[in-house]
């Protein structure tokens, strides 16, 4: 299996894809929990990928995004950021605007 291809497939198949530690129901890290809770709060359907279940993915997503930390959020194939950026975009309203424009917030 090729990790890079796995990642490409995950972010293509899931419009909102969060690489995280743990699951949305049971996050295993405070930063992953923060981003997961923001998406839940905004009523966004998202796929949580638990990198703790797959060591190749855990390292692979860092290499793929050239980003050293987890969580990482992808929206429609685009890397949006990690916890700090998502928090900032949530607080200034840009995240909601972006997701609404893309039709990703459930009514």
């Amino acid at each position: 299996m090729n990790t890079e291809n796995d990642i490409k497939k995950l972010i293509q198949d899931n419009e909102v894809c969060l690489f995280m530690k743990g699951t949305p129901e049971s996050p295993q890290c405070g930063f992953s929990m923060t981003v997961s809770n923001i998406l839940k709060h905004l009523n966004v359907n998202f796929k949580g990928i638990n990198v703790l279940e797959n060591q190749n993915l855990r390292q692979g997503i860092k290499d793929f995004s050239e980003w050293p930390t987890i969580p990482q959020l992808y929206v429609k194939n685009e890397f949006i950021g990690g916890c700090d950026i998502i928090k900032e975009l949530f607080e200034n309203g840009e995240l909601k605007t972006k997701l609404t424009e893309k039709g990703l917030i459930a009514k």
Partner: protein, 77 residues
């Protein structure tokens, strides 16, 4: 091995010489920090690119020796 506030500052300044940096040790454990970094080099860069510059300055320590660093970047006027 944890990093001290000064070590983090030196690493960032090493790559971003004009940076003004405010660091807080959030739990007093040399392991969970927040940093506000202001620099002119962030001008015209996306947030992702700005944070990548900071990560790069930390030379692979982020996520390893340095467990948690909350980053806020601002363009220096």
């Amino acid at each position: 091995m944890a990093l001290t506030e000064n070590e983090i500052k030196e690493l960032i300044i090493g790559s971003i010489p004009d940076a003004s940096i405010e660091i807080k040790d959030l739990m007093g454990d040399n392991n969970h920090y927040s940093a506000i970094i202001k620099s002119k080099v962030f001008n015209n860069l996306s947030k992702i690119e700005q944070h990548k510059l900071v990560y790069k300055s930390l030379k692979g320590k982020m996520g390893n020796e340095l467990h948690a660093l909350t980053i806020t970047t601002e363009v220096k006027k």
